[in-house]
Subunit: 348 residues, 2 copies
């Protein structure tokens, strides 16, 4: 089984964006009321997925995508806490419907209703709703709700502990994922995403978060930003700070995905990061959907790179399936439940 | 000849820091006057270098270090424009003295007197002084004088053109190098430096700076931050933006140094970036001076990694020497002048 741990609903029907625009416009209007959630039909959802993510799953040979709302559209810097909550609920409910329509293809991960300067613990209720009521198996946690000004405390700060507590209680991991950069210094997918990954790793490195929360599970996407390429630097910095070896200090809790869009990068990742800490992902359909003229294949068809790595079949199975099932511990239960339901529904 | 294009005077005598503290204290004091430049003797300079950078040059087998003031201490976010100017002049004058005392070991690159919100063109005079009067061959340009809040316009903005014009006029390159991070989200050497590199690259990628300034020469340090590891991502983003191939769009102007502190990272760098765009560097004595327990050698002894790369001797010579002489075009003239002076001084 091939599990893609990082997919966003980037092809959601236009009504979703019309709603978001109207919601933000109403906030700016002193007479603006509450904007109703968008009406989107099952057929619209089917149409948006079948010609896109589901088509690519089939073509590229992946089975299940761990699916969350579009990361760049979370835009936690816009509006306020109440607007972020409504927006998160609308997006998460849409993911739920996609997962209900295609239980073989998708399982949900939620967007949190974060807002700059608002305690992350206030996102715990939406996380709990998504996990307990909608069957989601994880969340995306934005380390910089300001969108590129980095005005909230680092992930090492007690500010974040309440959301970690809820994650541990629910036994769900977080993918650390920034959103749209409103700071003109940053290009959202070209620098802000990668910087967010590197920054989060270093915030954890210089913290005791995993001593306090030994069961906390974190995924750093986009191949870990700059981290594996500079693994020697990070090992050396940890040593200078008299910290334990990174494998003991961080790798019981932190994992990296494989959203690295060329073979040499994937080779490096698999060379320096233990196989148990690597989860297959493509982030399709995401920032880099084009065809690489050097290979003739899509940049983000990451399965092709991993197929070429000098790893044993057992190691590849861990990257493609085993590690995702371990890190997303609710996934195994979800699959069992789904399979037995499908078996019961099958005509005898 | 082995030229290390990235070394900072991190071992400068304590008087320098006493001066800086006094300078900043005077600024905060309504009755504070002008603090005099520190008095540092030639012997103090000799002592601070001979047991440190010069000892390591000898041990590791490098000949000449392109030497600049400590990057993290530039701290452009502190004080104001006048304080930054005095601080830059003091630091640059000290580099000049080190280069005069050890002309075989060092050649100077200057710190610019930047300040948040102050037009970079106002640094042109200090750059000109350092190049024309002190014989320096380049500068360090800070893309984020705010120290981690990224409040100045991106490097693509006309805001920066006047300093580019001066660089082209003087025929000197800039190393894009952030300084100390005062934003608690960032660890200076662990995330801010690498983020600065990635951010600058993407700012240039989405700009027409090199069409406007075809002779502008840029070095992105720390192996280019996250860029080579994500080379496929950047190629794909450029393609999606309908830009030329990166080799044509950026690699006539942008170069990367080799401050990557483990062999797999160096292998990746040499695999994806053309040899002509790689300049040898170690940043010693810098952020990661310790001994790697996996190799028994210093993390930042980067020559060892390059010695192990599967490149031809000619390619290695380009990385160690040829590219630095081409990018720092004033270096060749400097070496000629120095050598003929030394020949004349030699007893007949």
């Amino acid at each position: 089984m091939i599990i893609d741990c990082h997919g966003h609903y980037t092809t959601a029907p236009g009504e979703l964006h019309v709603f978001r625009d109207a919601q933000l416009a109403a906030l700016r209007d002193p007479h603006g009321g509450v904007v109703e959630a968008p009406r989107i039909s099952d057929d619209q959802i089917r149409d948006s997925l079948e010609k896109a993510q589901i088509k690519l799953q089939r073509e590229r040979g992946s089975d299940l995508t761990i699916f969350s709302p579009r990361a760049s559209a979370m835009s936690h810097h816009l509006g306020n806490e109440a607007a972020s909550l409504q927006w998160a609920r609308v997006c998460n409910d849409l993911i739920y419907r996609a997962c209900q329509l295609y239980p073989d293809n998708f399982v949900g991960v939620c967007q949190l209703p974060q807002s700059p300067g608002v305690a992350p613990g206030r996102s715990a209720a939406e996380l709990e709703r998504c996990v307990r009521e909608l069957g989601f198996i994880g969340c995306n946690l934005n380390p910089d709700p300001s969108g590129g000004y980095w005005t909230d405390p680092p992930l090492s700060d007690p500010y974040w502990y309440p959301i970690y507590e809820k994650m541990v209680e629910l036994d769900v991991p977080a993918m650390i994922h920034v959103s749209h950069a409103c700071n003109p210094a940053f290009h959202t997918t070209g620098s802000h995403y990668l910087n967010g990954d590197t920054t989060a790793f270093m915030q954890f490195l210089t913290s005791d978060v995993f001593t306090r929360f030994p069961k906390l599970k974190i995924i750093i996407p986009h191949g870990g930003g700059a981290v594996p390429y500079h693994w020697g630097r990070f090992r050396g910095l940890a040593q200078a700070l008299k910290l334990p070896l990174l494998k003991d200090h961080l790798l019981n809790n932190i994992h990296f995905d494989t959203c690295v869009y060329h073979l040499p990068g994937q080779e490096l990742l698999a060379k320096v990061i233990p196989v148990d800490n690597i989860l297959f992902a493509s982030e399709m359909i995401g920032a880099v959907p084009g065809i690489d003229p050097e290979t003739g294949h899509n940049f983000d068809d990451t399965k092709r790179y991993i197929d070429q790595l000098p790893l044993s079949a057992a190691d590849k199975t861990r990257i493609f399936e085993g590690n995702a099932k371990r890190v997303f511990s609710r996934l195994a239960r979800h699959l069992e439940k789904r399979n037995s339901k499908q078996a019961m529904e099958k005509p005898q």
